[in-house]
């Protein structure tokens, strides 16, 4: 997303998305499909519900001893010949990678899909330093060629048609390619295979890291995660510090629900457990392995209101079911992480100020909580964020003034009665079909996308008095 787009206020971005008929259609098809696949998968897996509870408990228990697990992970990775870096900020994580590139003469880096590297805008930094970053997940590759940002955590290019992809490939790769997913996938295979073999560095995220064994775990369907960790001479994994889990036994519990939640698969095509760089006797594998453990705003939430968001597995299930996401798509959110969990993660990484509008981009219906594999209470935290936005006085002044007035009126019965009487008179021109619509001035902000029930002709307390007299 370009700077100008980011500076566009959220309501405008959302409005533009709502007007994009093609986007609307793509979103409906994709999210409906994912919802169905997930539902079907869990329906045939009675053990799933109990496993979700266990997975949630493991995340919480791990957080309660996070320091110990991180130490253990780092010790084990170093014992196996890997290097561990500690990054307090995204800038620092980027600098570590850039320094590695410089010191080791890296000219091209192949990447497998990673939200953590999106989060720190790594590609831009690499390009500026003269290193060519190549996204290798097909969806990410399309997005990179188009100079866009992913619109869905697990399906980054769902907003593009095959026709658009064919045009893009034809233009960028030279040739004339048919608008057929099979053909286009083969084109990408050939193009990217060469890149895997030529690249000096492979960059990945990490779905999990097992402390007890020093294992970095990558889950992919395409096999690009395997390529990136096998062929280049250096492997760098960037990981949020909350992704550590204690043991292999724990890992199995997460694996049994992760793919089911994301795509409805029992397991993704590839789950890759990487334990150190190439070991003696191996004919392939990187000479060097680096793990970057990143804070970047996560640490202060260990005791913060967003603690539970640190459980997130990045499966994308909450996006698909969210009535807001389904209407506006990922780009309108304006930050790396879209959807309900994305609002929380944005607040975590960028601060509350970044979500003063986004905190309200939810109907609080709770669908996200229902499908979350680790049952993160997203609606509760969204309400808490709204409260914070209010407390920190970063909401628009009109809104704050109105809610201030409402608070005062509701705290005094005299004022409340007066307000009801005034409201009944003032609302007359705006009541249509029994609803309050199209209010003037800044009230219009509210009624532009919603309506309200009008103040009743007789209030409850007035009617109550009548009822008390038999």
């Amino acid at each position: 997303m370009s700077e100008t787009q980011l500076r566009t206020p959220f309501p405008q971005r959302a409005h533009a998305a709502l007007g994009d008929a093609h986007l609307q259609e793509a979103l409906t098809i994709a999210t409906t499909k994912f919802i169905g696949l997930r539902k079907e998968s869990f329906a045939g897996y009675p053990a799933g519900e109990a496993l979700r509870d266990r997975a949630r408990a493991i995340k919480e228990a791990t957080l309660q001893r996070l320091d110990q697990h991180l130490e253990r992970l780092a010790d084990n990775i170093e014992r196996l010949g890997g290097h561990v870096h500690w990054a307090a900020t995204g800038d620092e994580a980027r600098d570590i990678i850039l320094r590695l590139c410089r010191d080791r003469g890296v000219r091209m880096a192949v990447k497998s899909k990673s939200m953590a590297t999106e989060e720190i805008d790594l590609n831009e930094a690499l390009e500026a330093a003269g290193v060519k970053p190549v996204e290798t997940d097909l969806g990410e590759y399309i997005i990179q060629l188009a100079h866009e940002k992913p619109s869905h955590i697990i399906a980054p290019a769902i907003h593009k048609t095959k026709g658009q992809v064919a045009d893009l490939f034809s233009k960028e790769l030279g040739g004339r390619f048919e608008a057929d997913p099979e053909v286009l996938t083969a084109v990408a295979r050939k193009e990217l295979r060469q890149k895997f073999l030529e690249a000096d560095m492979g960059i990945t995220g990490a779905n999990f890291a097992v402390a007890e064994t020093g294992t970095i775990v990558l889950v992919t369907n395409e096999g690009n995660g395997r390529m990136v960790t096998s062929l280049p001479r250096i492997h760098v994994a960037v990981m949020g510090m909350e992704k550590v889990i204690p043991t292999m036994t724990d890992l199995m519990i997460f694996l049994s629900i992760l793919a089911r939640s994301a795509t409805g698969q029992k397991l993704s095509s590839y789950t890759t457990l990487v334990r150190g760089p190439r070991q003696p006797g191996e004919v392939e594998g990187p000479e060097e392995l680096h793990l970057i453990l990143m804070d970047n705003g996560r640490m202060r939430q260990v005791a913060g209101t967003l603690r539970e968001a640190l459980y997130c597995l990045r499966c994308g299930a909450c996006l698909n079911v969210c009535p807001v996401y389904r209407q506006i798509g990922g780009h309108a959110y304006g930050y790396t992480y879209p959807g309900p969990i994305g609002i929380l993660l944005t607040a975590m990484l960028e601060g509350t100020g970044a979500v003063k509008d986004l905190a309200h981009a939810s109907s609080l219906c709770g669908a996200c909580k229902d499908v979350c594999p680790v049952r993160i209470d997203i609606p509760r935290m969204l309400v808490e964020l709204r409260e914070q936005v209010d407390r920190e006085k970063i909401a628009p002044w009109g809104e704050r003034m109105l809610f201030g007035l409402a608070r005062r009126a509701m705290a005094s019965s005299a004022l409340f009665r007066l307000g009801a009487r005034l409201g009944r008179l003032a609302q007359r021109p705006f009541v249509r079909n029994g609803r309050l619509q199209g209010l003037p001035f800044f009230f219009g902000q509210w009624t532009r996308t919603r309506d309200l029930p009008p103040v009743a002709a007789r209030t409850f307390s007035e009617r109550w008095k009548d009822l008390e007299r038999p």
């Binding site: 780092a74 620092e92 570590i96 990408a188 096998s230 043991t247 036994t249 004919v283 640490m299």
Partner: protein
């Protein structure tokens, strides 16, 4: 640059501020990994026929092609048939010690070029040569460390003579297994992995364990399922009865 000590002390400061946490526990680990290892082995010695049935069903559900042969010596015939069907001539194989049979001997003389993975400590030149052969190969033949019935998954541990890319770079992957590798559940896999890491005698030599569940796939263009985007387009599993 943030040091480990700074990072962790910052984290501990935050952890000290938490209040009113509910009690939560991680998954119970097998108390004695060796014991569990033996127990699982014993269970599967009896239950493998059901596990095999389930494996076949799940493996086929994820577009795998299942074969069953009587003896290990029959495996080359299956590979030959696959090569003919794919019009492929370049075969890459795990080292005979890791696979249990020497494909170069059985297939080499028939217009198929077979590259075997080295099992000594390969130097830079040996690695380069192998990589070039791997990049060119059309069929990759591997053994299997575990075949997971619940999900139709082949689990392969890399190491000496067992390169990780044999199951990745060629467009067709052929994995050979027998009843001793069958497991029922992810939970059992967890126990086996605990044992693998706990016991120095069983310690894996290589760096990577891959869980392979069907061919490489993507649905990134209009959610149309397409196979073979980076890894193999076809995955075959050959079950050897008598071993």
């Amino acid at each position: 640059m943030t040091t480990r000590a700074e990072f962790l002390s910052g984290l501990r400061r935050e952890m000290a501020k938490t209040r009113g946490l509910f009690e939560a526990r991680t998954a119970e680990r097998p108390p004695d990994a060796d014991l569990v290892f033996e127990t699982v082995k014993r269970q599967m010695a009896e239950r493998w026929p059901q596990a095999l049935e389930r494996f076949q069903a799940e493996f086929e559900r994820v577009a795998g092609v299942f074969h069953r042969v009587a003896r290990l010596e029959d495996v080359p015939d299956v590979v030959r048939a696959i090569a003919r069907e794919k019009q492929a001539s370049r075969v890459l194989s795990w080292h005979p010690d890791a696979l249990g049979l020497d494909l170069r001997q059985s297939l080499g003389g028939e217009g198929l070029s077979v590259t075997l993975a080295p099992d000594d400590d390969p130097d830079g030149e040996a690695r380069r040569v192998h990589r070039e052969a791997a990049a060119e190969a059309e069929i990759g033949v591997t053994g299997t460390d575990w075949a997971l019935a619940e999900t139709g998954t082949l689990i392969l541990v890399s190491g000496r003579g067992r390169p990780r890319s044999t199951s990745l770079l060629p467009t067709t992957h052929v994995a050979v297994f027998d009843r001793h590798q069958l497991l029922e559940s992810l939970e059992q896999v967890g126990s086996m992995l605990e044992a693998l890491h706990a016991d120095p005698a069983r310690r894996m030599s290589g760096a990577v364990i891959n869980f392979i569940t069907g061919p490489s796939r993507t649905a990134d263009i209009e959610l149309t399922l397409t196979r073979g985007v980076h890894g193999p387009k076809d995955v075959h599993a050959i079950f050897v009865e008598g071993r």
